[in-house]
């Protein structure tokens, strides 16, 4: 899983050209991953302003608040779920995202439902 981080300043600080470049890079990367048969899914997330945080307390009462769960400078801006040979291949793809220049991209393995007895 490639997790793209952003913050409002870095996004606001982009020129129109840089924003276009960003979206073109993602289109190219998505196309390439699709053609290689590696892409499982990918999406960009709407601005954090649209976030709703849901929690359910002990007596099953649901409460929903506007805004993110944790106040942080950075937020999750999008993700790619990619089936790679190994972590290094995933890191190579993460490094090709312009977002890695602006803030950072996290690479984390997903859990597998299968395993080996020991």
């Amino acid at each position: 899983m490639l997790l793209i981080y952003s913050n409002p300043e870095s996004w606001a600080g982009l020129s129109a050209e840089q924003r276009e470049d960003l979206s073109r890079s993602h289109q190219d990367l998505t196309r390439e991953l699709t053609e290689q048969g590696l892409l499982v899914s990918a999406a960009g997330l709407a601005d954090p302003i649209t976030t709703r945080t849901v929690s359910v307390d002990a007596d099953n009462t649901r409460s929903t608040t506007d805004g993110p769960y944790a106040e942080a400078k950075e937020h999750l801006a999008g993700f790619y779920l990619v089936e790679c040979e190994d972590i290094d291949q995933a890191i190579d793809y993460a490094a090709r995202m312009p977002d890695a220049k602006y803030v950072a991209v996290e690479v984390r393995p997903v859990m597998d439902a299968s395993g080996l007895e020991m």
Binding site: T34, E35, Q36, G37, L38, L39, V40, S41, E83, E85, P109, V110, M111, D112, A113, S114, G115, L116, E117, M118
Partner: protein, 413 residues
């Protein structure tokens, strides 16, 4: 469609595909045409009965479909007006009404070499092998590997393009390359087996199908190469490993370690067959890593109770295996065997060099083995910490649950 019927069709796949590729070339389009012929058969035969010559029927339908594909392909190319890619005249040759039946010839090996071509990534080799040689549909393969069908379809068509670009022809690789290429084929079959040999919660049919498919494919290779010790060794290893499948997971999907498995649930006929295969191979063929791994699995398989396991023999076999295929996983298993045969301190000593091995130092299995040996040696705090660290490192849910439960077992004892 019933299972026997599907198998009958799938067994024809490599022969039908080879016949088309021999006659027309165009491996990529031929493969597509064969899939369509199989689909047509699965729709027509159940109602109209199986034809007298099923292979001939499939070849005829496949040829018709392939010539259609070639025509539309060359038309498309002409539209693209790419001089470098203009259709060659032979693409307009009408199909001969009957392609010579290859008779006794079996091109399955040639096809396997092509699908396991070195220009492809392991994931692509696996997907192409399952489709072109195994006759599985893209949907079945995608389900087996838990990826979307569209992703798998892309992977397969890309693999076919890569083979085309590499300029591979449909013939046996030269003698000099054959050993290395055979190694790649066996490795791909081994990977397919491993992918299927997984413990998922509940009854995961898909993974079971992959192990069955891997065993079926290796049996096919063994029929063609009855004197190859490593083919026999790989088949034995699969049979002996798969024999444990009914005993390795509990009803809730949790993993049961080898020493705690109910050995009455092991598949006895598979163990007997595997043991015969490996004994025979060891006695009369050149030694290789699959045979030694199968021999180790046979020592486990023939121990009636966990405490009857001949660990000294297993240690000796790991020493042999380290001589012929040095990899850190082998050393890790060797350390376990030494701990069981001699004692945990001696096993832990063998783990030390792995702690500085870049490939292993952060690997959850190293930490899990360390935990196990620390527990054997009585260092319960150290064991608990190692189990928990291993649990955090693994990316497998059942392994994580198992490692956590081992840590909890120590806490509450």
């Amino acid at each position: 469609m019933n299972h026997d019927f599907e198998l009958l069709l799938r067994e024809q796949t490599p022969q039908v595909l080879s016949a088309l590729v021999r006659h027309y070339g165009h491996f990529d389009l031929a493969e597509e045409a064969v899939q369509e012929a199989l689909l047509a058969a699965s729709q027509q035969w159940p109602g109209e009965g199986v034809p007298d010559n099923p292979r001939g029927w499939l070849i005829r339908v496949g040829s018709r479909r392939l010539t259609d594909l070639l025509r539309s392909e060359s038309a498309r190319r002409r539209r693209e007006e790419n001089a470098a890619l203009t259709a060659s005249p032979e693409e307009f040759v009408a199909p001969s009404p009957e392609i010579d039946d290859p008779g006794g010839r079996d091109d399955t090996l040639t096809l396997l070499f092509l699908c396991c071509h070195p220009s492809l990534s392991p994931a692509s080799q696996i997907a192409l092998t399952l489709r072109a040689v195994g006759g599985l549909t893209t949907a079945q393969i995608a389900a087996g590997f838990l990826v979307p069908e569209a992703t798998m379809a892309q992977r397969i068509s890309r693999a076919k393009r890569s083979i085309k670009q590499a300029g591979s022809s449909f013939e046996m690789p030269p003698e000099a390359e054959r050993d290395a290429r055979m190694g790649a084929v066996l490795h791909v079959l081994y990977l397919i087996f491993n992918e299927g040999y997984t413990a998922s919660s509940g009854d995961d049919l898909h993974s079971a199908e992959l192990t069955t498919e891997a065993i079926r494919l290796v049996r096919g290779v063994r029929r063609l190469l009855p004197d190859d010790g490593e083919v026999a060794g790989l088949l034995a290893l699969m049979l002996l490993t798969d024999a444990r499948r009914p005993a390795r997971t509990a009803a809730d999907g949790s993993l049961i370690p080898l020493e705690e498995q109910d050995r009455l649930k092991w598949n006895r006929p598979a163990i007997v067959e595997g043991e015969h295969l490996v004994s025979d191979a060891l006695a009369r063929t050149q030694l290789g890593p699959y045979q030694v791994q199968a021999a180790i699995a046979a020592v486990h398989g023939t121990a009636e109770r966990a405490e009857d396991t001949d660990w000294r023999q297993i240690v000796a076999l790991y020493q042999v295996l380290e001589q012929i295929s040095d990899n850190p996983m082998v050393r890790l298993n060797h350390a376990v065997a030494v701990a069981m045969a001699v004692g945990p301190k001696e096993g832990l000593a063998l783990l030390e060099p792995l702690e500085s091995d870049g490939r292993m130092k952060d690997h959850h299995r190293l930490e899990a083995v360390k935990a196990h040996l620390l527990e054997m040696s009585g260092d319960l705090d150290g064991a608990r910490a190692s189990y928990l660290l291993a649990a955090r490192r693994t990316t497998s849910v059942p392994e994580r649950n198992y490692l956590q439960s081992r840590a909890e077992r120590i806490t509450t004892s």
